[in-house]
């Protein structure tokens, strides 16, 4: 399978009064189309930091990130289009916009890209249906939804602009195990059927079962581990 993402020698140190914290320490990683990469590790090991660096929300101190062989440039306009076209984020706390309905939340990334309103609507409805969010729920404000519903809306939103990479930070962290499993299944399906490059970061080792590639993270260092599959 084609390499989508290549991360090479990423370092990130946070400077704090209490002392510097090396959150990401010389991390290298490859991820491919249609495959699920799972990174597990204890709290504070640097998983979120690594994911944000990949998603360009955080800048690394050194190292390189290549997507389809191209270095992710650091100019503001490049970052904007990178976030829009390449990356879809799924967060532990959903990070939906409470003032908007589920449908509007999914339309938002397309809206920012000036997609025509009717096309936005069609695609958002289609994505939400696929996530199992029916018409009534689509029109409800997201702050009235359950955790599982919120996370499915969030996944739909991540897919809105049809990105190549889905970055999921503890997607099951706020869900019960059944709902969590449902969400993981969706993410796996996105890799298998849509050919997305899915990276899941979690401390829930059970997710390792679905991983094509698994890593263990500790004190900012990443170490490949064998998976059963």
């Amino acid at each position: 399978m084609q390499d989508v993402l290549e991360v090479r020698d990423i370092n990130k140190t946070f400077k704090a009064k209490a002392g510097n914290v090396t959150a990401v320490d010389k991390v290298s990683l490859r991820a491919r189309r249609g495959e699920v990469t799972v990174i597990v590790g204890p709290s504070g090991s640097g998983k979120t930091t690594l994911l944000y660096i990949i998603g360009s929300l955080e800048s690394p101190d050194s190292g390189e990130i290549n997507v389809f062989g191209e270095d992710v440039a650091r100019s503001e306009t490049d970052l904007i289009s990178y976030r829009r076209q390449r990356i879809g984020f799924v967060f532990q706390f959903f990070n939906l916009i409470p003032a908007l309905t589920g449908l509007e939340n999914v339309m938002l990334p397309m809206d920012l890209c000036s997609v025509p309103a009717s096309a936005q609507n069609d695609r958002a409805v289609q994505l939400l249906e696929r996530m199992g969010i029916d018409g009534r729920l689509q029109k409800a404000r997201v702050n009235k939804m359950s955790g599982g519903e919120k996370q499915r809306v969030a996944i739909a939103r991540a897919l809105a602009n049809d990105p190549d990479i889905i970055l999921a930070d503890e997607p099951t962290g706020n869900l019960d195990s059944a709902t969590g499993k449902l969400v993981v299944d969706i993410l796996v399906e996105l890799a298998r059927e849509d050919g997305k490059c899915v990276i899941i970061v979690t401390h829930d080792e059970s997710i390792l079962a679905v991983a094509d590639w698994a890593y263990h993270m500790q004190d900012g260092r990443l170490k490949g581990i064998e998976t059963g599959s």
Binding site: L57, L96, Q120, R157, N161
Partner: protein, 503 residues
């Protein structure tokens, strides 16, 4: 669902919070706009006043000089005075008569100044008129004689066949008629041509005309001062009859007492001839383009025309009486405006800080999914503008209703003092008898003694001008921009990674 719609939706989603912000803003904006309206009104009113008050001046013999001459005169004994006047040459007699007068050369020269808009010359003189009696004057003289015992002094020059002649260059611009204390009831005014040709015409008072059975077209015979015999007499044709407005009002229904009845009006050149003072006037009277020119003209007078005996008297004082409260109100309203705008600024800054502070996560999300800073700002701009727009529209409406009251309230303190001084200035109801009264600081413009003493009370007309609407938009812009500063600073400094993982 573009930024506009999202912003508007956010605006609608917090009705209570927005209501509070709008209410606070509305109060401060209403105050600002009212203050601004008052300021604009007071400015324009001062400007208006400048065109009618404070733009008048006259050149005449200074009261200091007059006092000084009187003092010298008083120190002489009666016999001294008599021998002096008997031994005077014709030239000395002319000098004697003109010592309280101004040479026309000077008044004419001053009229050439560019700032001078109108020019008139006035001469007041007591002239004897044969076969004309003033019954009112007779009764008043007897009244005065009675007063002598209680300390009053009867002017020696007064007698019942001596009349006050007032001459100027154009009858229709006589100040008594301009201020409305007298009005022509029959005939016409003498014209500038009458003045140039020295046509012997005269305007007399109604009661005087009635008692002496005179009407328009009849003639009077006046005597030239210091001359006698037929050669010293001038026949004056009556061309107009006037009445004294206030005197009539005061004594409606009673026996007419009209001390002003002894004033006759004639072309200046005629009065000069009768008084035997060719080339001399009592004063030159000038209107200028604006109050602003007075300082310049004063300079011209001081440097070029003043010889120590003359003064340049202006109505600066009455201008100040009227304009000072207005100017003060203007200043106060500016302070109020500044304060209220400051409060507006504070409110919008605080409100936006609260609004944004509660939505940092949303900002982070927007950035994480690829919103540009401009897209985020547009959304907040809509929200800010909605809040400010509602507040300012309400404020415009309400301040249109209350700014007049604000103006009155601001003016109320000052008006009391202003009205007092106005009354003091004009309240001496007694007519000024004769000419050259040393105490007479009254300006020619204000008319003689019977002019209305009850000046209209000072009022600020806060017209809600169109320019205020523009200022309103400007203020809207100003607080809108200020309100936007908060999200702008917040967004440019926001690190999405910090806010997205917060529970």
């Amino acid at each position: 669902m573009r930024a506009l719609k999202r912003g508007f939706r956010n605006f609608r989603r917090h009705p209570l919070r927005n209501l509070v912000v709008i209410l606070l803003l509305f109060v401060c904006l209403t105050f600002s706009l009212s203050m601004l309206a008052v300021k604009l009104a007071s400015d324009s009113q001062v400007q208006e006043v400048k065109e009618s008050v404070g733009n008048y001046g006259e050149i005449k013999v200074s009261s200091d000089y007059t006092m000084q001459v009187f003092e010298e005169e008083r120190s002489k004994s009666e016999s001294e005075r008599q021998t002096q006047s008997r031994t005077m040459t014709a030239e000395e007699q002319l000098a004697q008569r003109t010592r309280f007068l101004v040479s026309e050369e000077i008044t004419d020269a001053f009229s050439q100044e560019a700032e001078v808009i109108t020019y008139d010359k006035v001469l007041d003189a007591r002239i004897s008129v044969d076969d004309l009696t003033n019954s009112a004057m007779e009764s008043m003289l007897s009244m005065r004689e009675r007063n002598v015992q209680t300390g009053g002094t009867a002017p020696a020059a007064l007698s019942s066949d001596s009349f006050s002649f007032e001459g100027n260059t154009n009858g229709s611009s006589l100040s008594d008629f301009m201020v409305g204390s007298k009005k022509l009831t029959e005939g016409s005014f003498y014209s500038y041509q009458d003045y140039l040709k020295a046509n012997p015409v005269v305007i007399i008072e109604k009661t005087l005309a009635e008692t002496n059975e005179l009407s328009v077209g009849d003639t009077l015979t006046a005597t030239i001062s210091g001359q006698s015999g037929k050669s010293g007499e001038v026949d004056l044709t009556i061309i107009g009859i006037y009445e004294t407005v206030q005197a009539e009002e005061q004594v409606a229904g009673q026996e007419t007492f009209n001390p002003m009845g002894d004033t006759l009006y004639a072309p200046l050149s005629v009065v000069q001839k009768l008084y035997n003072t060719p080339g001399y006037v009592q004063l030159g009277s000038y209107y200028f383009d604006s109050e602003d020119s007075v300082a310049v003209l004063q300079q011209v007078f001081d440097n070029e025309l003043s010889d120590g005996t003359l003064e340049f008297a202006t109505d600066q004082e009455s201008f100040e009486v009227i304009s000072d409260p207005l100017t003060k109100v203007g200043k106060t309203s500016m302070i109020g405006l500044a304060g209220a705008l400051g409060a507006c600024a504070l409110i919008i800054l605080l409100a936006m800080a609260i609004i944004i502070g509660g939505r940092t996560r949303e900002l982070g999300v927007l950035k994480a999914i690829g919103a540009t800073n401009r897209q985020v700002m547009a959304q907040y701009a809509v929200e800010v503008i909605c809040i400010c727009l509602v507040a300012i529209i309400l404020a415009m409406g309400v301040s249109a209703m209350i700014s007049q009251k604000m103006g009155n309230w601001l003016l109320s303190d000052d008006t009391a003092t202003a009205e007092q001084s106005v009354t003091q200035g004009n309240g001496n109801g007694m007519p000024q008898m004769g000419f050259g009264g040393a105490m007479d600081s009254r300006l020619y413009k204000e008319g003689s003694g019977f002019s209305s003493g009850s000046q209209e009370s000072l009022k600020l007309n806060v017209v809600y001008q169109g320019s205020l609407f523009l200022y309103g938009i400007l203020i809207l812009f100003f607080i809108g921009l200020l309100g936007m500063a908060v999200p702008v600073i917040w967004i440019t400094r926001l690190k999405p990674a910090r806010v997205l993982s917060i529970e």
